[in-house]
């Protein structure tokens, strides 16, 4: 047996996961031909010879091109400091907000104030420099309204689903827009508060479990349960 763990099992750091010719996804250590876990995670057997380790808790580490939802924590002379729910504080420079040349002598807090939420993209990040953000793309910028849901960043991809199926589903049923930040912050925007709350509930519940096999099915189940409960009362 090349894989020594069973599906759904909690794996602790240093635990023996598999050996020989098999695929181990997620954070792990290789020593010779043996695979060991690196962080506290849940094992999922995807194929007879492939096991995926899903971390239970993991801090968000910025990656170039990620969409994140940030919170402005400071306004500088030519930049804003943005908390992106990560050990690294991000910079949003004036040149990444305005088309060049950037207007001079302007109070930056008129544009983004401390406490504002922004949808931004990670422009660059390597571990020796703080991440740089940009809002120079469509649908990026200040978030004016909506409900903010904070979930584990390691589980946020299931809110998107395969090719955005879950987002599309929620949009079509509840008429809400979702901004899914890779850093574990999801903003739900809808015209009706009840629908907004319902979508927020689905997002939160989707990310409560360490592993969801089919996010779309799960979202449908969660939503239909809530909707039928609403009708009966």
């Amino acid at each position: 047996m090349p894989i020594h763990v069973s599906g759904g099992q909690v794996i602790v750091p240093g635990e023996f996961v598999a050996e020989g010719s098999c695929e181990v996804m997620g954070p792990h250590i290789i020593s010779g031909k043996r695979y060991y876990a690196k962080v506290l995670s849940v094992a999922v057997i995807e194929k007879p010879k492939r096991v995926r380790l899903i971390p239970l808790k993991r801090r968000y580490i910025p990656t170039e091109g990620d969409l994140v939802v940030g919170k402005i924590i400071d306004v500088g002379p030519t930049y804003w400091l943005v908390d992106i729910n990560s050990p690294y504080t991000a910079f949003l420079q004036v040149s990444e907000v305005f088309p060049r040349p950037a207007p001079k002598e302007r109070d930056l807090s008129e544009i983004f104030q401390v406490g504002d939420l922004v949808a931004a993209k990670v422009l660059s990040f390597d571990f020796s420099h703080d991440p740089l953000l940009t809002v120079k793309e469509s649908k990026l910028g200040k978030i004016e309204k909506g409900l903010l849901v904070e979930v584990a960043s390691s589980r946020v991809s299931r809110v998107i689903g395969k090719k955005g199926q879950v987002i599309d589903y929620l949009r079509s049923i509840l008429n809400v827009e979702l901004i899914v930040g890779r850093n574990g912050r999801v903003v739900v925007m809808g015209s009706e508060p009840e629908r907004e709350a319902l979508a927020a509930y689905v997002v939160q519940r989707l990310c409560a479990e360490p592993y969801v096999a089919d996010p779309l099915e799960e979202a449908k189940k969660l939503l239909s349960r809530q909707l039928t409960r609403g009708e009966s009362t």
């Binding site: 909690v10 602790v12 750091p13 240093g14 690196k38 962080v39 506290l40 808790k57 050990p87």
Partner: protein, 247 residues
Amino acid sequence: MEKANVKLLTEDGRRIDGRGLNELRKFRVEAGVLKNADGSAYIELGRNKIMVAVYGPKEVHPRHEALPDRMLLRCRYSMLPFSVADERKSPSPTRREVEISKVIREALEPAIFLEEYPRTSTDVFIEVIEADGSTRVASITAAAVALADAGIPMKDLVVGVSIGKIEGRLAIDLSGIEDQRGEGDMPIALMPRLNEITLLQADGSFSRDEIAQALQMVREAAIKLYEEQRRALKDRYSKLPVEVEIT
């Protein structure tokens, strides 16, 4: 200073609390006991009660302490005023606590992939609620669980076990009185899977053979604690309840 005559070992090899020489006290480890910390653990080893909270990886404050190539690990071992038997302990850190904080940090560092989060820090807060000998090794055992619980990447868990000499014989997991009245103690921390030692201190004199025997005894005891650490982490997250907040 002359020691009062206390008999630590009976003729048939029983210790003051009835244990055999290579018997650990009763122990229990729990993971994820604090909601506000990123990771936490609680250990009971005999009468020792220790709580550990881990925060991180997070930004370093003050900023100039950040290391460009790796994570900064900070430990604080502290004993609560009511944790010791005799008098109320002053809450300010003593020389001993500062030293133990340092050796615990150095015992944990080899197990952590510090280079995965450069320019960040992780803080480990160890609070001894009740102390009865071997607190530094019990703290290491709990701190390793709390670090794993916080999702810090690690090579292996670290287990601490103390061994000492009473009435000329080696005895595992010294209690408070055995530590005070015995002829020596040796706290050891190791990574059981890798079989690597991360901490070895000694007070008293041990012969070469005694050290070899001590290491063997510690390894056997460490496996039991290692199993308990793993059980604690697995139990905490296996019966993953969907958290329902009742208001």
